[in-house]
């Protein structure tokens, strides 16, 4: 019988997964909350199940999603990214009900989701990591331990609450004096916030590049990488632009990072698709950061330069297929850049523009452009979810060609209604540092001029604005 796969997600990634399911000849089932009534993923799916009124509660409700899968008789569930994708309880619930979870096992998700466990696994496998300590000893002993670390590795360093996460429970320390007081403060704070006063230390890697490696592993333990990605262009830890492969000139180093990623995945007993994230400092030292146990937003750039359909492979691996190719079969060809077209106003601190209706939508076409989106003309962007509208991925044979193509495609992209990040990216593609590939995670901070654009900037757009005003007013009030 035709296999049925439920997609436990929404937006562009739901559509991306539905496409792969349908290409495989399977039946795709969408789920949705009420605010997504008009969402495109429901329309393109073969079946759809309403989960509840939401918002952001039913997509996260393990019981309801499993119930929906059972109701439609789904063989497998693809969780996409976000929502339940990295929730080990959800993977476990699938395992318990005999529904195939498209991703690694609940145990792997659980291990890699826990920072301390993940660090331990990687340390045992000799994966290079940002220098750090175990939990600091209690009392003044711990302070001495911290001071000794500072003396050895230099400042700044980070004091982190072991039970913290998502940016919480982290304090940056600039010198020894500060460290001596901050250890106590951090402990007290961790105790108050997480009811656990364990803290540890990590060296701060200044202005690193964010380099990550796409991994695929089958059930037999065959693990390959699909090359590197650079995701350094971020705004407050949110990636905006992703590139494949990394532009680091020392290709041997990049190869080494990729090999390390495979080792790391193996050490974690990894299965299915995942991403191993590294920081690369100015001296080209690289450090393991974490493994993301799901399909990444930016998987498209890797697909473009390798030709390998990652989501299709995920499904096949989950359904028991082996990897049909070896590491040496993976060839990186050309470059790809993905920009996340968000409904945000970059000039207003990237404030979301949700709730607005897309009055005009015209996307670019032609050679070398791929769009993964879910908006259409007349669609009102729900206020309840994230602001990603479309991922535009361009690819080209050389870096310069790819940048040129990106510029052309951005200039040809018309979305009116909500403000978007498109004009911001247009400034970005014209930035000499970006063009020369010279960027790290401090890029947006150090290039404030990127948000200094005039949306109606070109001469004709300025004139058109006056024409619109004359049309609206019925006369040129500036001439009267």
């Amino acid at each position: 019988m035709k296999k049925k796969i439920l997609v436990a997600n929404r937006g562009e990634i739901a559509i991306r997964i539905i496409r792969a399911i349908q290409e495989l000849g399977y039946t795709a089932v969408a789920v949705y909350e009420t605010p997504d009534n008009d969402a495109l993923h429901i329309r393109v799916a073969d079946e759809a199940v309403w989960l509840g009124d939401g918002p952001r509660t039913d997509y996260l409700n393990i019981e309801k999603v499993i119930k929906a899968a059972r109701k439609v008789g789904a063989d497998a569930i693809h969780p996409g990214y976000g929502f339940l994708a990295e929730n080990p309880d959800f993977a476990k619930a699938c395992e318990d009900t005999g529904i195939t979870f498209i991703g690694p096992s609940s145990e792997v998700i659980s291990n890699l989701g826990d920072k301390v466990t993940a660090r331990r696994i990687m340390a045992e496998a000799n994966i290079p990591m940002v220098p750090g300590t175990q939990n600091l000893k209690a009392g003044d002993q711990g302070v001495d331990e911290a001071v000794a670390f500072g003396a050895k590795y230099g400042y700044p360093i980070m004091l982190k609450a072991t039970a913290g996460g998502g940016g919480r429970g982290i304090r940056r320390v600039e010198n020894e004096d500060q460290l001596r007081t901050e250890v106590h403060v951090a402990r007290a704070e961790a105790k108050a916030a997480f009811n656990n006063d364990n803290v540890y230390i990590e060296k701060v890697v200044l202005t690193p590049k964010h380099v990550e490696v796409q991994i695929l592993a089958d059930a037999k333990g065959k693990t390959v990488h699909l090359g590197s990605r650079d995701c350094s262009i971020q705004r407050r830890n949110q990636k905006l632009v992703e590139i494949a492969p990394s532009l680091i000139e020392d290709r041997k180093l990049v190869d080494k990072i990729c090999d390390t990623a495979v080792q790391a995945a193996k050490a974690a007993n990894y299965f299915n698709a995942g991403t191993v994230e590294f920081l690369v400092d100015k001296d080209m030292n690289y450090y393991f950061m974490e493994i993301n146990t799901r399909v990444q937003v930016e998987h498209t750039v890797t697909e473009m330069v390798t030709g390998i359909d990652i989501v299709r492979t995920q499904i096949k691996l989950a359904l028991g297929k082996e990897l049909a190719f070896n590491q040496e079969d993976v060839q990186i060809r050309g470059f790809a850049i993905e920009v996340r077209v968000n409904a945000e106003d970059p000039q207003n601190n990237f404030m979301p523009e949700a709730g607005k209706k897309v009055t005009v939508y015209r996307s670019p076409g032609g050679y070398g452009v791929r769009l993964d989106g879910f908006v259409y003309q007349g669609y009102t962007i729900p206020e309840d979810y994230d602001s990603l509208l479309v991922k535009m991925t361009v690819f080209g044979f050389s870096w310069n060609e790819t940048v040129d193509r990106l510029r052309r495609c951005l200039a040809n992209y018309v979305i009116t209604g909500p403000k978007t990040t498109i004009p911001f990216y247009l400034k970005l593609v014209n930035d000499p540092d970006f063009q020369s590939g010279d960027f790290d995670t401090s890029f947006i901070e150090t290039h404030p001029e990127l948000i200094d654009y005039d949306e109606q900037g070109s001469e004709v757009n300025k004139l058109a604005r006056l024409i619109a005003e004359i049309h609206f007013e019925g006369e040129n009030k500036y001439a009267i």
Partner: protein, 635 residues
């Protein structure tokens, strides 16, 4: 060489002209635009006409000056310097002519000497012929411009302003010409500036002959207006009596108060045996063919009153002020009072105020005084600041006689003699610190201004800043034809607009639908170079201001006595003279407001302390709008 071209010195010009039997023509495009189209003829139109006008071989094209510099930035949103630069590209040989007031230049109030000199230097880069006048024919008022023009090696054309009446004799004018020559030397063109188009052909002929009798070598440029329909006659008489250059305009744009058609002048004088030197008549016809189809787009700016106005001989309003006067009458809803104002009150005021020359800014003083006198029913009871300045002799001495004492008493009160003694006399304006002004402009713009921007700013500070900001927002809009910029009633759905931008790139804009969105905003859709663009507009709630009962003059006065200072009439704030917390006494100036080119001080009627300033520089006020709150001193 027959043709007079740019770059020729005054010597060469004079030599060439004196060597010819014929006469020369100035195409007075600017004055035509100002008189008959409220100065709205766009650069776009002048650029269309430029190639044909260049071929026509005029002595000069009068294309800037007068109020046009102000209207360029205020209503046409074109940089007055860029305008000249672009026209020069199309017209490399034709001299460009300007008209400026000695003390006011292109503005309405006297400027400091250093501002005048800087402006002349900057404009002299583009302008070859400088016609300079003073509405009191007071020569010292023009000296700074005379000097700078001659220093720049440009052609100086001082004016004697002409009017009619018992005092306006040939002797008077011949003497004036002598006074001018005394300060300028012989190397000038002399303009007889007949801005009202006054007098008969016979009168003008006599005047020209009288001047030529005394100064046989002088080259006279006759400038007139066709307000009464008879300027061709006056021009003809001027040329027959020895004038060498005359002012006329392209016929397809002529009509009422501007100069008469060039071709009519040529035809008339040909019969009399005078030929225009070097003129290409087919190019004149071609110009009008080019312009003819543009005229319809300016219809809104044409005079509300069609037809000639021979009663100009009674009211003497200059051609350049006719259109705007009628416009004010319509906007101020006193059109029915116009016959009384024009034919009874204005001639009377004119006589009472010394029978000086009715031209800017003197004409505005006469006009506003006459209008106030009629509308208020209390003659001279509501004097403007400029009328006070006139009476105090700030503009110069009265040429023939001083206005009667009762007017002084009415305007200044019982103490008028003391006031006249203390404050009377020519206004001395101290030089300003130009670098300080440059810094102030840079601060307002957020970038370092160019020298030209500075010059524009020094003349019309607020309007210049508004204009520069407009350009930042809307770009260089001179590229848009009048069919777009002067469109009334909006565009048709699907209408296609085509134009080239400032850089020469061709653009197509298609008009899309206009609709109201759910949140009450209006959305206008345009297809700009094949890209959909959307523009949102907030609907202005009609009548929200009008419904508020307007305060009467008495109410405004009563409130002022309580320290609640309100706008006395519809005006713009052009100066705020006090700061919050400042002590003020009765008679202290609180602010200046400007309406109809006239500045009026708002003085305190109480002693007290400025508590709050509600208004700001450049704000447009309606009658009764809150301006300043003063805490009135007890007792």
């Amino acid at each position: 060489m027959e043709r007079i071209v740019t770059g020729m010195s005054i010597d060469e010009v004079l030599k060439t002209m004196r060597g010819h039997e014929g006469y020369y023509i100035t195409n007075t495009a600017r004055d035509l635009s100002q008189s008959d189209f409220k100065n709205r003829i766009l650069l776009h139109t002048d650029l269309l006409a430029a190639p044909a006008r260049e071929k026509a071989n005029y002595f000069s094209l009068e294309i800037t000056g007068g109020a046009s510099v102000h209207v360029d930035i205020l209503r046409k949103q074109v940089d007055p310097f860029l305008k000249l630069e672009l026209l020069r590209e199309q017209m490399p040989n034709t001299m460009f002519q300007t008209l400026c007031r000695g003390v006011n230049l292109f503005g309405y109030r006297p400027y400091p000497q250093n501002v005048i000199r800087l402006a002349v230097r900057e404009f002299a880069k583009y302008v070859d012929v400088w016609r300079v006048f003073d509405f009191m024919n007071h020569i010292p008022n023009m000296l700074a411009v005379f000097e700078e023009v001659q220093k720049a090696g440009k052609i100086l054309e001082p004016c004697v302003c002409f009017s009619t009446g018992p005092e306006h004799t040939d002797d008077f004018y011949v003497k004036k010409v002598g006074e001018i020559l005394e300060v300028t030397g012989d190397e000038i063109l002399l303009c007889i500036k007949n801005h009202g188009g006054l007098g008969t052909p016979r009168r003008i002929g006599q005047l020209v002959a009288a001047i030529k009798d005394s100064y046989p070598d002088i080259v006279i440029h006759y400038h007139g207006h066709n307000t009464d329909g008879n300027d061709v006659g006056r021009i003809s008489a001027a040329v027959k009596n020895g004038a060498k250059i005359i002012d006329a305009a392209d016929h397809s744009f002529t009509g009422y108060y501007g100069p008469p058609p060039i071709l009519s002048v040529i035809h008339d004088l040909r019969e009399e045996g005078y030929e225009p030197v070097g003129i290409n008549e087919s190019a004149i016809i071609e110009t009008s063919e080019v312009l003819r189809s543009e005229r319809e787009h300016y219809e809104y700016f044409e005079s509300q009153f069609k037809g000639f106005s021979p009663t100009v001989q009674i009211h003497k309003l200059p051609g350049g002020a006719m259109g705007s006067s009628f416009e004010q009458a319509v906007k101020g809803d006193f059109l029915d009072k116009m016959p009384e104002i024009l034919h009874d009150e204005l001639p009377q005021v004119q006589k009472e105020l010394g029978n000086y020359w009715s031209v800017t800014p003197g004409s505005q003083i006469l006009w506003t005084t006459a209008v106030n006198n009629v509308l208020d029913g209390d003659r001279y009871g509501n004097p403007t600041g400029d009328l006070k300045n006139l009476l105090l002799g700030k503009y110069g001495p009265f040429p023939f006689y001083q206005p009667p004492d009762w007017i002084y008493e009415k305007v200044f009160g019982a103490d008028w003699k003391k006031i006249l003694e203390e404050q009377g006399g020519l206004e001395e304006i101290e030089d300003i610190d130009i670098e300080k002004e440059r810094a102030a402009l840079a601060k307002r713009l957020g970038y370092e201004p160019t020298e030209q921007q500075l010059v524009t700013y020094l003349q019309h500070p607020n309007d210049a800043v508004e204009f520069f900001k407009f350009e930042e927002k809307f770009g260089k809009v001179y590229v848009l034809p009048p069919s777009i910029l002067m469109r009334r009633g909006g565009f048709k759905l699907g209408e296609t607009l085509q134009f080239k931008d400032h850089n020469g790139k061709e653009h197509v804009i298609e008009i899309g639908p206009k609709q109201k969105s759910e949140d009450g905003k209006w959305e206008v859709y345009l297809n700009v170079d094949h890209h959909e663009r959307q523009y949102s507009f907030q609907e202005v709630v009609q009548g929200s201001v009008a419904q508020e009962a307007q305060l009467s003059k008495e109410e405004v006065e009563d409130l002022a006595k309580a320290g609640d200072v309100r706008a006395p009439f519809k005006a713009n704030v052009c100066e705020i003279s006090v700061e919050e917390g400042q002590d003020v006494k009765v008679g202290d100036r609180l602010a200046m407001v400007e309406a109809m080119k006239m500045q009026t001080p708002v003085d305190s009627v109480v002693n007290g302390k400025v508590e709050k300033i509600f208004t700001e520089l450049g704000r447009a006020l309606n009658v009764g709008d809150k301006m300043i709150k003063i805490k009135v001193d007890e007792g």
